[in-house]
């Protein structure tokens, strides 16, 4: 079975009706992973034993009728989430042998709802990348074209859903790491408002930007997953104590009368013509559905990549100082003292992109440069947030492309980090502003690569963009197309 065939809610109905057991479902899931992952490399770790044990428990729960929302449904999470007693590598050699002693809050919430965690998904090392090529576990391949990248950093999370390995996954999004791979793989991915989902137990890349986000095959499953993981967590000081709505409740509210903003800075000359065509068609669809479309401006968009990388790299340089070979993870020591051990461990354990960002971040915080780089970037961040604040007084949400091009070829941008960074131009600003955004399929390029549409909502207006996405999904059939594997 491929998991495109059923949605989470359909699986739940079958499980509750006794037409399917969780053990069967989990076994099929594991089989599909076995059959396809040699091509995709979406998984770093498959937890077969643990998953089957959890499925057995789920079947008991289903039998007794006390079965919460995700009981018995196989789910996978990006390898950035700590999972109790399971290897958690974050795509890095430095954590190759790391067995976590605790669950991330988001993982604990999945378990509370009865989910069967089948494995840990491949990713760019420490979530640093836009292509899932920077992983110690090897490159992830796009299920639509195995020679292309699935996007990143949550490339495994998107590829696994797109290829029908699992029905839904969790990723993380610091500068587009859920939305861009969702777009490249033709699935639905959502980056919630900063503070909506707990970051506790999510290995930090850039703390002020990181946010957990669900990836699923359709909007309703994405909404359901968000509802499970969202909410205040006293273990995360930056999580926000505001009620979580039922995201499924008014999903079919439609967009009639809604005002959609098209930020002119996102519709630039360099935009791939296939993408432009698909997004223009989406705009038309929304107009047909009764929404009003207006042009708006986010004047500081052009500064967001520079602003983002300075902040993210500075925070990363500090967040990654704990990988020092003392308490866990890799240690390399040729016997020339502590500093030698530190340098050997970190040089051997981190990949090139991670080293590059640690170096740039360290430089941006160092004495004499802090104000010119880090502080300057924080001030520009204020301007970027203000742009969004201003625009949201005029419109309900924004509509933009997710990425300037469809998925590129593996290896195409590896040697030009700056070009790679620039490909995140449309997703980065929302992380800086802290607001919510999602990616959903809106078409295909001439060479059959999926194209994503981005909806950007007001802070904590996830329900609103999910409704808009659902309306579009109902009016089109882009999400019905699946890659052949």
């Amino acid at each position: 079975m491929k998991f495109h065939d059923l949605s989470i809610q359909e699986m739940r109905q079958k499980l509750l009706a006794g037409e399917l057991t969780s053990i069967e479902l989990t076994q099929q899931c594991l089989q599909r992973i076995k059959a396809t992952d040699s091509q995709l490399n979406a998984f770093i770790t498959v937890c077969e034993e643990e998953a089957l044990a959890a499925a057995a428990v789920a079947d008991q729960q289903l039998a007794t009728g006390s079965a919460p929302l995700l009981t018995g449904i196989p789910i996978a999470v990006k390898d950035i989430f700590n999972t109790l007693d399971v290897r958690t590598t974050c795509g890095s050699k430095i954590l190759d042998n790391y067995i976590s002693p605790y669950d991330a809050t988001a993982v604990a919430k999945l378990r509370e709802q009865g989910a069967v965690i089948v494995g840990k998904l491949n990713m760019d090392e420490f979530a640093m990348g836009s292509s899932s090529e920077n992983s110690a576990a090897g490159v992830v391949h796009n299920p639509w074209d195995l020679e292309r990248v699935p996007g990143g950093s949550s490339g495994g999370s998107a590829a696994a859903v797109a290829s029908g390995q699992v029905v839904a996954t969790l990723g993380t999004d610091t500068g587009g790491s859920v939305r861009q791979p969702a777009s490249h793989c033709g699935v639905v991915g959502l980056k919630p408002t900063y503070g909506r989902v707990s970051r506790y137990g999510v290995i930090a890349y850039a703390s002020s930007l990181d946010q957990v986000g669900p990836v699923a095959g359709n909007v309703a499953d994405c909404a359901l997953m968000l509802g499970v993981v969202a909410g205040y967590d006293p273990a995360d000081s930056t999580s926000v104590d505001c009620p979580v709505p039922d995201y499924l409740e008014n999903l079919n509210a439609g967009v009639a009368g809604k005002k959609i903003g098209l930020p002119k800075e996102y519709f630039i000359d360099g935009l791939d013509p296939d993408i432009k065509k698909a997004v223009d068609a989406a705009i038309e669809t929304y107009q047909q559905l009764g929404a009003e479309v207006v042009s708006v401006t986010l004047p500081h968009t052009d500064y967001s990549v520079a602003c983002y990388y300075l902040i993210a790299m500075a925070e990363a340089s500090s967040n990654l100082a704990r990988y020092d070979g003392v308490r866990f993870g890799l240690r390399q020591d040729s016997g020339d003292g502590l500093i030698g051990m530190y340098q050997q461990t970190r040089s051997a354990g981190f990949g090139d992109e991670v080293k590059r960002r640690i170096m740039l971040g360290t430089y941006a915080l160092s004495s004499g440069y802090y104000e010119a780089y880090y502080l300057k970037a924080q001030k520009v961040r204020t301007l970027i947030r203000q742009d969004f604040h201003d625009v949201f007084s005029q419109v309900d949400f924004l509509l933009t492309p997710v990425a300037p091009t469809p998925a590129f070829k593996i290896g195409e941008k590896v040697n030009d980090p700056l070009q790679m960074y620039l490909s995140d131009i449309f997703t980065i600003p929302t992380n800086l502003a802290g607001t919510c955004a999602m990616s959903l399929p809106c078409g295909f390029s001439k060479n059959e690569l999926p194209i994503g549409l981005q909806l950007i909502g007001k802070p904590f207006a996830e329900a609103e963009i999910l409704q808009a996405a659902y309306a579009f999904e109902q009016a089109t059939d882009w999400n019905k197309r699946v890659p052949e594997l």
Binding site: F81, N82, T88, C90, L95, Y98, S100, P101, Y102, A104, R199, Y200, G201, V202, I203, A204, A206, S207, S208, P234, A235, D236, S237, T238, A314, E315, S317, S318, L320, A321, R322, Y323, D324, V326, R327, F328, L338, I339, Y342, T362, L365, S366, S367, Y370, Y374
Partner: protein, 476 residues
């Protein structure tokens, strides 16, 4: 005092707080537990763990700020201080940098040499402690992270001290304050109150400061004094030899009485402070400050003044009793039950402290509660017992925990005030000592003491000495 150079000292004191749990996680701060047993993902710096601030630490910091005349910063910020060391799990210490919680305070000290002086406090900030590092003989070090993430206040003084005496006076007063506030156990041996000293010298009259060295590892008042004095001499020698003092960190070795340079560790220190994105700003409202202010105990300096002024204790008594909060509270509780402060202080400083010292007990463990002690004093006052019998009663209370009245009753220690009974004893004494009676009547009035003593002896101490005196005078 050196004739050629002025000494300039600034102090950085790390005050370990007595909160139950660590500053950013719920692990216990209890001292002396099994190695690496008080740890969790947060204080181990495991991937993905996040800090959450202990509210009590903020309260304690506000208390310390108010007690040292600081301004409380309306919005303070936690920052990361980045450096690698095996006792620092995250590779950064969470501290405060640009906006500490308290600023611009001062303490008044008294030294014999100079009298009163006001010393500035630059700032007080909250931070986490590091773990403990042991250096082994086999070319390795061992790390215990129980102490990692324990809450500290760092109190930074202005470079206002001009001698080791002033430095010690400042430290003793700061120590007394934090212990009085109940925010620190003050235990120097266990590292609950640690001091680094910045020491420099300059020719008298020179405005700019000389190059300073930072002395570390000073964990007793005596060592601090020694270390500062050693450093001053060392710097004078360096300058006299025509060389320059180098800015450096020096580690004091109390056994050798010398300090050694730690220059190797200085290599490219660049802490790259930046606001910690995992923690939110701390806003302290005026209401919160007021609430904390109301909860502050009366501090030793205020008690000292009150004891000397309002309740009229001699300076010495006031000084001894106010120096220790539990002792002062004991004393005040005695006074509450028996309102004669001078007699109370005599007893507290005499019998109580004496007995505690004998038994090596703290005042908090004194078996004679303030109420029990007051019971004794009341019975002296109403002449039920004499001062001498009272001491016996006190001992019995110490042993049994019974009240003075129970013991007086049980042992029949009630003073005899029945004129007839005392008269009978007086007659006996006069009859038994004819020679002394003759001498007394011959003008040797000093012998009255002898007769009173005889009466007391015959009554086993129970006769009222005043009445005995009167009756003797009449009969003789």
């Amino acid at each position: 005092m050196n004739s050629r150079y002025e000494v300039v000292i600034g102090l950085e004191v790390h005050v370990q707080l007595t909160t139950r749990t660590k500053i950013f996680c719920g692990c216990s701060t209890e001292f002396g537990q099994g190695v690496n047993s008080q740890t969790c993902p947060v204080c181990l710096g495991l991937p993905g763990a996040l800090p959450v601030l202990n509210r009590q630490v903020v309260e304690d910091a506000i208390k310390a700020g108010l007690a040292t005349n600081c301004q409380i910063t309306p919005r303070s910020i936690f920052a990361r201080k980045n450096y690698f060391y095996p006792d620092l799990p995250k590779g950064y210490q969470i501290s405060q940098f640009e906006l500490p919680i308290c600023e611009h305070g001062w303490l008044d000290i008294e030294t014999e040499e100079l009298g009163g002086k006001r010393l500035g406090i630059t700032r007080i900030h909250m931070e986490e402690d590091a773990g403990k590092l042991l250096h082994n003989s086999d070319n390795s070090s061992s790390v215990d992270l129980n102490r990692a993430c324990t809450p500290l206040l760092e109190v930074v003084s202005e470079p206002d001290m001009r001698s080791s005496e002033e430095a010690i006076a400042y430290l003793k007063q700061l120590h007394q304050i934090v212990v009085y506030l109940g925010i620190c156990d003050g235990n120097l041996d266990e590292g609950s109150f640690r001091c680094d000293a910045n020491v420099s010298i300059r020719p008298w009259g020179q405005k700019e400061l000389g190059t300073r060295s930072e002395l570390k590892n000073l964990n007793s008042f005596r060592y601090i004094k020694q270390a500062i004095e050693y450093e001053v001499e060392r710097q004078i020698d360096v300058i006299d030899a025509g060389e320059k003092v180098v800015q450096e960190t020096r580690l004091f070795d109390p056994d050798a009485g010398v300090s050694r340079s730690m220059r190797g560790k200085e290599e490219a220190h660049d802490y790259r402070y930046f606001p910690d994105p995992d923690l939110l700003p701390v806003d302290v409202s005026a209401d919160w400050i007021e609430q904390v202010r109301k909860s502050l105990p009366e501090l030793s300096t205020a008690k000292l003044q009150r004891y000397q002024g309002e309740i009229g204790l001699p300076a010495y008594d006031a000084g001894v009793i106010s120096s220790d909060r539990p002792l002062a509270e004991y004393f005040e509780a005695v006074v509450k039950h028996y309102n004669n402060p001078k007699i109370c202080s005599n007893w507290v400083m005499g019998e109580v402290l004496g007995a505690l010292k004998d038994k090596k007990l703290e005042i908090s463990a004194c078996p004679v509660t303030p109420e029990l002690l007051a019971g004794v004093l009341i019975r002296i006052d109403d002449k039920t017992i004499s001062g001498k019998i009272a001491k016996t009663v006190f001992e019995k209370i110490w042993q049994t925990g019974n009240t003075a009245d129970q013991i007086i009753e049980e042992k029949g220690l009630k003073q005899v005030t029945d004129t007839g009974a005392i008269e009978a004893i007086v007659d006996e004494v006069i009859a038994a000592n004819p020679d002394q009676v003759a001498e007394y009547r011959g003008g040797k009035e000093k012998l009255m003491g002898f007769f009173v003593g005889q009466v007391m002896k015959a009554s086993k101490g129970k006769a009222n000495p005043g009445m005995a005196n009167q009756l003797l005078k009449k009969k003789l």
